[in-house]
Symmetry: C2
Subunit: 293 residues, 2 copies
């Protein structure tokens, strides 16, 4: 059994990106510049955005953090997005979700210039992905592809079962795993809350990608020997033995499933750390595409 070590791979990727940025600087080229917009003071959101800004610093990107008050109107936020769209110095930007309730999330995502949409959430980029055109793949799915790629996990002709149909993980993953190329060419089954007898389906899977948010949902008797398991679930479970009072748990009963698996991601330290690395990669791609125009 091999652990798919997202912590190590994400560090490798960041080192590779830092190396690219060094070369750009040596050639006197503009380095990538990522902006992040956050509305309000939600603690978790501030933590996420903070890590993204720190990651930019680590690889040598420029970064800009725009913090707007919790009472920002939709029009004010759309104005900010318009400025970022028109600012040639910004290669890509993200709007941290969730947004306060007075703001329509869909209007905001649609306002982002698809050429700067490094989160890959714009329908134009989602459609380009589904139609095999160059695009920005959303960071979490992109990170999963990268893990499969770096560990050379065979996907062609395999049966991949995706659990959960969210717009940011399950649905894009189900599309990506069935596209031509590597990683891809899988027979893909997308399961969700309406799926009946899910264990009959997971038992047939060569590869399981679970993004459900139900702690330890996937048990050893639901998988076959040699299965590849990608666990995107991250849930806080109360745990009195821990100083902070909780532990982070994935969708997979890791202790038991890992005994049957050929490859498996741990939680934490699997898919999670890949997400920020792939956001940086998308920003680097954005810089490269803009410089070619």
């Amino acid at each position: 059994m091999t652990i798919l070590d997202g912590k190590k791979i994400s560090n490798d990727i960041k080192d590779e990106i830092a190396e690219e940025v060094k070369k750009m600087k040596a050639k006197g080229e503009k380095v990538p510049h990522l902006a992040a917009v956050i509305v309000g003071n939600d603690g978790a959101s501030l933590t996420y955005v903070g890590s993204k800004v720190r990651a930019c610093e680590r690889v040598g990107f420029e970064s800009t953090l725009i913090q707007l008050s919790n009472t920002t109107s939709e029009i004010e936020l759309l104005d900010t997005i318009e400025e970022l769209n028109n600012n040639d110095d910004i290669d890509g930007f993200i709007v941290q979700l969730p947004l306060p309730e007075q703001i329509d999330e869909q209007n905001v995502l649609l306002a982002v210039d698809p050429n700067k949409d490094v989160d890959g959430f714009h329908p134009m980029n989602f459609g380009r992905m589904a139609l095999d055109m160059s695009t920005f793949i959303p960071a979490t799915p992109f990170g999963i592809l990268e893990l499969l790629d770096r560990y050379q996990v065979e996907t062609s002709g395999k049966h991949t079962v995706v659990i959960g149909r969210s717009h940011i993980v399950g649905r894009p993953m189900s599309i990506l795993m069935g596209r031509k190329g590597f990683p891809g060419n899988s027979t893909v089954t997308l399961t969700h809350s309406r799926t009946k007898n899910i264990e009959e389906i997971t038992k047939q899977a060569d590869i399981i990608i679970t993004a459900l948010g139900k702690p330890e949902f996937l048990k050893a008797d639901m998988v076959k020997n040699g299965v590849v398991v990608i666990d995107v679930g991250i849930t806080r479970v109360p745990d009195a033995t821990k100083q902070r009072g909780y532990r982070i748990t994935g969708d997979v009963d890791f202790e038991n499933v890992s005994k049957k698996a050929s490859f498996i991601t741990p939680v934490p330290g699997g898919v999670g750390p890949m997400t920020i690395a792939m956001l940086l990669k998308n920003t680097l791609l954005a810089r490269e595409r803009h410089s070619k125009k």
Copy 2:
């Protein structure tokens, strides 16, 4: 066993649309206007475009046929598209495929204003579909949904197996059948040329949608009793007993599979006739959306 009668349903839909157009006229409103662009003299393409124009006439739409020579350059075609995009009288338009080899199909599809893309081939519309936003669903998948809807075929919690991952049928169908709502909420497996042991998967299917183009590929021993079968394949098979020298055959061994099926589409007369009806429906939708602006 019930035949999903696409010929009848498509006529019903055309009658309903004609009724809508009558109401529009009675209110003095502009009626929907569809334009079709064809480049070159390919016989099959001319036939398709001709049927689309005749269908417009039947329901009372205005229609415009723009026929360009086989030597048209990409820039000339893009100019024509730009004119159609800017012409307020045109509600929707299609560019008949395939295009001559001097023209890049992707550049052409990307040039169409997504608000007039009644074929639903633009990545913006494909992405909106995958992200559950209002859009134009490509005509063939839209026709399949309509058939399932009109015959009230249960899809929720069912296992739908899609055969073939083309951009215009297989991939969109796999997404649509897994979305929330009806028809949808299926557990969906997308199979394709790299799928191994496909009969093991089709045998589990409650619903099979095949868009492969292999005559009589799906045999009775590959399906379970009660299966719902949607056959999108249309292939000409040489047949000396026919005056024209060929017959039209679907992907399904209809004679034998129909004995096990609960619902099944014939070929011809199943999915085929639905396509033009749904193109008209998209054009009506386009008119309604434009009039609300």
